[in-house]
Every structure is written in structure tokens, then in C-alpha cells.
């Protein structure tokens, strides 16, 4: 009995020693040096480049595909899949007159001679024609059909050269095909046999590891839905050889778990485009800033508060200006975001070449705010809240998306600062689907705090033009949620759209920004920054600050010295 117990005890101790030894060995183990593991906070629902576009999908596909042209990190249009950006100066862009008297443009592009799909089939104009066919079909499920509606025709010169005829000459003609994502005709034609089912049958989702779907430096080789995506070097890639043999992108939706995986070595970096929020990154930097290279890239994500201009209180410009003077955006940026968020004066970021320094700037000035409110007929009462002559309180609702701790704090600071000047603001937090699906769409808000993404030099046609106010009459289309109806603003956005001369266009942009800052259909707040958390040995990652991700230049990433 005693001997049996001793033997049992020894066996348990032996097993425990074995387990501990294996764990210690695991702790000392390392991933292969030619592999990079990246953490992102959202899984891409689809790998098709044009169906249900998402930031996560763009990030992954940026390693495996290339657009014809794209905005680079300097916000200049560059060629990727084509050999040269079509411009009027180089003769590849030719304006012409349309039968209705308007102006169209023909763009001639040449596909890169070395471009081949991952199965070795060359990328040719057949693929371009097929892509146009898919994009023009209203049943195909392509999200951004506006691009294809503008294409009158595509004429093929040879296997690599084609001319796209567009029905409108716009200032951004050279970037107008940036979202024309060439599809592999030799593989996708079969899935497109029933256009209405194409978005369900596309190989990008039914067989995402098919090499023939990709022509970038990498191709997707393995997908574990909801977990990770594996990309490996594409042998048919024609450009600079990428440094890593394999890149694994892990989806870790919980930010605490994302951080833990980074610290545990489960991942090497967190994607700036779709990783930590700014406040999470700042908190991380406080404890681990010395161990990583942390970069904060200002972006085009414009954080602002829409004012419902049909609201009787907000219809008065003086009240809107008082709201601006009543909040200390500089202090909020410093205190909550360590100065990493650029204070906005209009919807155009300082990094954009059309940005105007002459735009009215609303520095924090509560005294000025009170003067404006008095002039607007809102007088301070005994309870410090303001009332008008009819006795109505100056009270407004601030609608915003729920669940973001950082934004909740900012809203509470606004609420407190507005209270000091006599404006009572109630915060109404809603889920994003309620906020955008119901509240904004039906314009059932007073003030609405949110952000949107735009592109470099993005003409605000859908957000400022008066025919874009959502209403019953237009089926609630348009994004002019404030209900901004200004003939001069209409004239300027229409003029910008077709103005090719940069100096003249810059003037129009400056006028529009000044008008916006004066009229304040929305209260400009910040341009958000994306935090990139990178290991010290990884170099060459260049954040862009716009919707085209840093992974489009993944072949420039390299290892300096890995510890």
C-alpha cells in the first residue's frame, strides 16, 4: 500500500516535470525569422475586392492585388497595375465633347507587361473587359457601381492596352479608376454565369486560396474563417521581392486580447488601419513604448458634429458658432489624445494640398460664445441654463455611437463645457446601426457626433450639395444630413468637380472651406490618427492616412535586425 502510494507520487511528479519542461521549451521557442504575424481587430467578411468592401478586406488584399492607380503615402496618384498614370500632359488622357454638350474623357492605360495571375495566366485586357461587364451588371452585387455607370465604353488596343471612355470629365480623372479592381476572367467567368448569384459563387469566397485570384507580392494560401489568413510569396509577382516568406493575419477582436497576443509574441505587430484605437495605443505606449516603434499617422477620418439645420435652435448661425467657441478642442486633443489628433477647421485635413490656412479658426472662447448666445436671444436664467423670450430652454440632444470609451469621454467634456456657457446637452448613445440606419437617415437628431472617411481631395458632392439631403421625396438618399442648402456651396462643389486647372480649383476649394467654417453645417472637431505598433526590427512600413492601406507597399517592408 505504501509502496503503491510512493509509486503513484513519483509518477505524478514525473509527469509534472515533463509538462513544466515542455512549457519552458515552448517559452524559449521562436517563430521562423521569415514569417510576420499581424493582428487586426476585424475579420473580412469577403475577399472579393468589390463586393461588401471593408477596411479589413482592403488591408489583406493590399498584399495580394494591385489597383490600376492609387494614392500613395504622399497623397499623389501613382501607377500600380498600369505602367503610367494617364494625364492630359502625357497624352494618355484626352477630353472630348459629348453629344449633350458636356465634356467626357478618354483614358488610355497599359497593364504592366509582367503582370500575371498567381497561376501564371497573364493579366490582360480580357480581364479588364470582364471586370467592366461584372461592374455594369446591376445584379452582380458590386458595391460601388457609380464608377461603372460613368464608363461609356472600354476599347481594347491589344492584350495590355485599353482606352476607357468616361461620361464626365472631372478634376480627379487620373484617379477615377483607383477602385476598378481587375478580376480574373479565366476563373470568375464561370461564377458569373448567373449574375444574381455571383456574389455568392465568386471564387474569392468559395476558393479564396486559389492562386489564380491574385497577382500581388503575396497570395492567400490558407483561410480559417474568423481566425486567421495566411499569405505566402507569389512566385508570379513581377515587382521587388518581398522580405517575408509568409505573413499571417490574425483576427483578434477584443483589444485586451490583441494587446496580450502582442506582448506574448503571438503577433509581431498591430495593423494601424484596423487595430487599436488611439486611446488604446496611447495607454499601451505608457507601459511598453520602449519595446516597440509606435507611429501615429494623421488620417482623413473627419470627426465632427452634424447640426440639424432644420432644428429651430440650430438654424441660427450664431448658436452654431457659439457651440464652436464653447469647446476647447486643443485641450481635449492634448489631454485625451496626447496632442495626436489634429484639430479640424473644416472638412479638409491639413495634409491635403487644397487645405486653406485662411479658414476661420474657432479657438476656445467661452466669453465670445456667451455674447453670441445673448445676441441670438438666449439669456442666462437663474439656473445658469439659457432661455429665450418664450421661456424655452436652450437644450439639445447629442446623438452618437455607443461603445467607444474614448468618444464617450470626449462627448462628456463637450457636455460639460457647453453647460458652462448655458447650453444643456443630453447625450444619446445608440448602436451604430441605429445611428446610421435610422437616426441619421431620417434626420431624427439635433446634433450628431461621428466620423467619416473620405479620399484625398474628395469633392463633398454627397455631403454638402442641397439635392443630397435625405428626405421622403428622394427615398432618403444622400448624406447631407445637416440639411445644408446653400446656393453658393452648390455652385462651388459643382465647379470643383469639373475644374482641371489646379490654381483655379485651389481657389474654389478655399472658398468652400471658408464658407463651411463660417456657416458651420457641422462643427469640425478632429482628424483622427491611426496608431501603428511595430516591432523595432521591422522597417519600411509607411502609413498612408487614407483609405488605401499601407499593405499596398508590403514589398518595401524589411527586417533590420531581429532580436
Amino acid at each position: 500500500m505504501v509502496r503503491r502510494m510512493q509509486t503513484r507520487r513519483q509518477a505524478i511528479l514525473g509527469a509534472l516535470t515533463l509538462v513544466l519542461a515542455s512549457r519552458a521549451a515552448r517559452a524559449g521557442g521562436r517563430r521562423p525569422a521569415d514569417e510576420l504575424d499581424i493582428g487586426i481587430s476585424q475579420y473580412p467578411g469577403t475577399f472579393h475586392p468589390m463586393v461588401d468592401p471593408s477596411v479589413a478586406a482592403s488591408y489583406v488584399l493590399g498584399m495580394a492585388r494591385r489597383p490600376l492607380t492609387v494614392f500613395d503615402a504622399k497623397w499623389q496618384v501613382v501607377a500600380m497595375l498600369c505602367t503610367e498614370v494617364p494625364t492630359i500632359e502625357n497624352g494618355r488622357a484626352v477630353p472630348f465633347d459629348l453629344p449633350d454638350g458636356k465634356r467626357g474623357i478618354r483614358l488610355t492605360l497599359s497593364l504592366h507587361p509582367g503582370a500575371r495571375w498567381g497561376d501564371g495566366v497573364p493579366v490582360t485586357t480580357k480581364d479588364v473587359l470582364f471586370t467592366n461587364e461584372v461592374g455594369k451588371n446591376p445584379l452582380s452585387g458590386i458595391a460601388d457601381a457609380d464608377l461603372f455607370r460613368r464608363i461609356i465604353s472600354i476599347d481594347v488596343k491589344d492584350d495590355k492596352t485599353f482606352t476607357v471612355t468616361l461620361n464626365k470629365l472631372t478634376y480627379d480623372y487620373s484617379a477615377s479608376l483607383a477602385d476598378f479592381e481587375v478580376l480574373p476572367a479565366h476563373l470568375e467567368r464561370a461564377a458569373f454565369s448567373d449574375p444574381a448569384q455571383y456574389h455568392n459563387r465568386t471564387l474569392y469566397d468559395s476558393d479564396p486560396a486559389n492562386p489564380g485570384l491574385y497577382f500581388g507580392p503575396y497570395r492567400i494560401t490558407e483561410v480559417e474563417a474568423g481566425s486567421h489568413i495566411v499569405l505566402e510569396r507569389n512566385p508570379t509577382w513581377w515587382g521587388k521581392a518581398p522580405a517575408f516568406r509568409r505573413i499571417v493575419i490574425w483576427t483578434i477582436e477584443n483589444s485586451a486580447a490583441l494587446e496580450a497576443n502582442l506582448l506574448a509574441g503571438g503577433i509581431d505587430m498591430v495593423a494601424g488601419e484596423i487595430g487599436f484605437t488611439l486611446d488604446q495605443a496611447l495607454a499601451f505606449q505608457k507601459h511598453h513604448g520602449d519595446e516597440y516603434d509606435i507611429t501615429y499617422k494623421p488620417t482623413l477620418i473627419y470627426s465632427h458634429i452634424d447640426c440639424n439645420l432644420d432644428h429651430p435652435i440650430l438654424a441660427d448661425q450664431r448658436v452654431r458658432q457659439a457651440l464652436m467657441y464653447g469647446i476647447d478642442r486643443e485641450a481635449i486633443s492634448q489631454q485625451l489624445y496626447d496632442g495626436r489628433q489634429i484639430v479640424a477647421d473644416s472638412f479638409v485635413p491639413p495634409l491635403d494640398w487644397v487645405y486653406s490656412k485662411e479658414v476661420p479658426h474657432y479657438a476656445y472662447d467661452p466669453a465670445k460664445a456667451r455674447v453670441l448666445l445673448e445676441a441670438a436671444g438666449w439669456h442666462a436664467g437663474g439656473d445658469t441654463m439659457r432661455r429665450n423670450a418664450a421661456g424655452h430652454r436652450l437644450a439639445l440632444d447629442l446623438s452618437m455611437g455607443a461603445g467607444n470609451h474614448g468618444l464617450d469621454l470626449v462627448a462628456q467634456v463637450f457636455q460639460s463645457q457647453w453647460r458652462e456657457i448655458g447650453i444643456e446637452v443630453h447625450i444619446k448613445a445608440e448602436t451604430p446601426r441605429t445611428l446610421f440606419g435610422e437616426t441619421m437617415r431620417n434626420r431624427k437628431f439635433d446634433l450628431a457626433f461621428y466620423a467619416w472617411v473620405s479620399a484625398p481631395e474628395n469633392d463633398p458632392l454627397t455631403t454638402l450639395r442641397s439635392d443630397q439631403v435625405p428626405s421622403q421625396a428622394n427615398g432618403f438618399s444622400g448624406q447631407n444630413y445637416p440639411g445644408f442648402r446653400d446656393p453658393e456651396a452648390d455652385r462651388l462643389v459643382n465647379a470643383i468637380e469639373i475644374e482641371l486647372e489646379r490654381p483655379r480649383r485651389a481657389e474654389e476649394w478655399h472658398e468652400l472651406q471658408a464658407l463651411y467654417a463660417e456657416q458651420l453645417p457641422a462643427l469640425p472637431l478632429f482628424f483622427r490618427s491611426n496608431p501603428f505598433i511595430l516591432p523595432k526590427w521591422l522597417k519600411g512600413v509607411t502609413p498612408t492616412g487614407h483609405q488605401y492601406p499601407s499593405t499596398l507597399w508590403v514589398e518595401d517592408w524589411y527586417v533590420e535586425a531581429r532580436s
Binding site: N200, S206, F436
Partner: protein, 317 residues
């Protein structure tokens, strides 16, 4: 008994039908749609695009008409395509079901294997050191939030010690049995510790009650040893109420554990159902929730049959 089972199975069908309509209606009545959200995220999307995409997916049709179309297809075995993943619903669900079965099944078996004997032993001497420890573990397990527990385990075993992976389902390029086991340890530990408390309390309470009964005193008086009294006499009676708890827990096995799955980046049913509901992925949400519903109903039926098997006093007509 057969008539009883047949009647209950009919109930299962009826309840499932009602649930399918309720789930469909609730998801459909949620304000907003993910396609509407795309407008704010994509500067090139127009309202016309949004309308076209909704029409393509049949979202411009009345809710009732959409439900009837779904029901007709489902009855012929066609569960449709996932709106989020653009794949057949079954293709989306099956891998996640497998992952969840492994995770939840392992933690379920482990929790029972620890809780039932430990609860029985603790009941033997209420107030003893073992009973005190068992009570503490029970209350800790019930009280501690699973996300916090997950985070602590990750911080200790993955970040500080580096003994175990912080998340995921397998190492890329490996995926062997040992590697998968490695990745299961922390999430299984989290779920087991979180669920063990309830089973411990039930088992302990039921055993204390059973040990007070006259037949136990009689067994002792007849010379039965302590072990025989505990395992052969008291346990058989004490296990009956515990079967209810086990059966109800079994029903929720395949609906996953959302919080744990998110903390460990484990692709299971919990996350799938959550994403499907938020993404208005009707087909996947319906299939997954109905599956969970049917499982709960069937496990209740199994519990009732187990009663009859365990307690000869119980009969069904």
C-alpha cells in the same frame, strides 16, 4: 413512454417553427442595416448603390414575404447563403460547430468530472476543510467574470511565463494534436472554472439532502461502509436533480461562449451567432439559433427520459 416521446417531439417541431418566425422577425425589425452602414464607411458609395444592393438581397421585400421564402427553402433543406461570408450557410456553420463542440464539450466533461465527485465528497462532511475549499471555489467560479478570468490566465501563462499561446486555434503550419491541445488549455480552463461552481453547489446540496434520508441511516445500520453509502446509495438519488442541470447545460453547448471565444480569438459558434445577428445575416443567425433551440428541447426530453431510467417511481404515459 413512446406516446410521451412522440408528443414531446411534436412539441419540438411546433416550438421550432414559432421560434424561427420570432427570430426572423426580431432580426428584421432591428433598426438599420449593415448596407446602410456602408455609406458612412465608403466615400464612393451612393444612396442608389445602397438601394440596389438591398434589392439584390431581397431586403426591399416585406418581412413576412421574406420569412415565407426562407421557410419554404429551409423545409426543402436549403438553408441559403451567408450574407456576411458569401458562402452556403452550412459551409459557414459546420467548422464553427466543430470548434465549439471541442471547446465546450471538453470544458463540460472536465467540469462534471471535477464537480460531481468533489461535490459528493464535500457533502460527506459539511463544514470540513474540504467543504470550505469547495464552497470557496464554487462562489469564486460563479462570481468571477469570464472575460476577466480569461485575461488573467492570458497574462500569467502566455505573456509572463510564455508557457501557452495567448489565443487562436492552432499554430500556422502545425495544427497537430499537441498544438491544438496547447491552444485549448486556456479557453477550456476559463470555461471550466466559470461553470464548475454551479455544478459543485448543486451536487453538494443534493448529496447533503440525500445523506439525511432514512435509507442512508438504514444502510449504515446494516453495516455498509462510508464509500458504499456515498456512491452506491446516496449518489443515485442525489444525481436526479443534477441531471436537470446537466441536460439544460448540454443544450447550450453548441451555442458557444461568445466572451471566451472573443478573448482567445477562437472561431466558434458564439462569435458566429453574434456577428450574424449584428450583420443581419438572417440565414446563418436563424440556422444557428434554431439548432441551439432544438438542442435545448431535445436535451430536456433526454433529461426527462433519464429521470424515468434513474427513478423507478417515475413513469410517463
Amino acid at each position: 413512454m413512446m406516446r410521451f416521446v412522440a408528443a414531446r417531439l411534436t412539441q419540438v417541431v411546433a416550438v421550432s417553427a414559432v421560434m424561427s418566425f420570432l427570430i426572423y422577425a426580431l432580426i428584421g425589425l432591428m433598426p438599420g442595416d449593415p448596407i446602410d452602414l456602408m455609406l458612412s464607411g465608403d466615400p464612393h458609395l451612393t444612396a442608389a448603390d445602397v438601394a440596389r444592393l438591398k434589392a439584390l438581397r431581397g431586403l426591399d421585400q416585406p418581412l413576412g414575404k421574406r420569412y415565407l421564402a426562407w421557410a419554404e427553402a429551409a423545409l426543402s433543406g436549403d438553408l441559403g447563403y451567408s450574407r456576411l461570408y458569401h458562402k452556403p450557410t452550412t459551409e459557414v456553420m459546420l467548422p464553427r460547430l466543430g470548434n465549439t463542440a471541442v471547446l465546450m464539450g471538453t470544458s463540460f466533461v472536465l467540469a462534471l468530472a471535477i464537480a460531481l465527485p468533489l461535490g459528493a465528497l464535500a457533502a460527506r462532511r459539511p463544514g470540513s476543510l474540504l467543504d470550505t475549499i469547495v464552497n470557496f471555489v464554487s462562489f469564486a467560479g460563479i462570481s468571477v467574470p469570464s472575460f476577466w478570468l480569461a485575461l488573467i490566465l492570458i497574462l500569467v501563462f502566455a505573456v509572463t511565463l510564455g508557457w501557452l499561446p495567448a489565443g487562436g486555434i492552432a499554430t500556422v503550419g502545425d495544427g497537430g494534436f499537441a498544438d491544438r491541445l496547447d491552444h485549448l488549455v486556456l479557453p477550456v480552463a476559463t470555461l471550466t472554472l466559470a461553470s464548475i461552481g454551479g455544478y459543485l453547489r448543486f451536487m453538494r446540496g443534493a448529496m447533503i439532502e440525500a445523506l439525511r434520508q432514512d435509507y442512508v441511516r438504514t444502510a449504515r445500520a446494516k453495516g455498509a461502509g462510508a464509500a458504499r453509502v456515498l456512491w452506491a446509495h446516496a449518489l443515485r438519488n442525489a444525481i436526479i436533480p443534477v441531471i436537470t442541470i446537466i441536460a439544460l447545460s448540454f443544450g447550450s453547448l453548441f451555442s458557444g461562449a461568445l466572451v471566451t471565444e472573443r478573448m482567445f480569438a477562437y472561431p466558434g459558434m458564439g462569435g458566429l451567432i453574434y456577428d450574424a445577428i449584428l450583420g443581419n445575416d438572417f440565414n446563418v443567425a436563424l440556422a444557428a439559433l434554431l439548432f441551439a433551440t432544438v438542442l435545448v428541447l431535445l436535451s430536456n426530453l433526454a433529461a426527462d427520459i433519464a429521470y424515468a431510467a434513474t427513478d423507478p417511481r417515475i413513469t410517463y404515459r
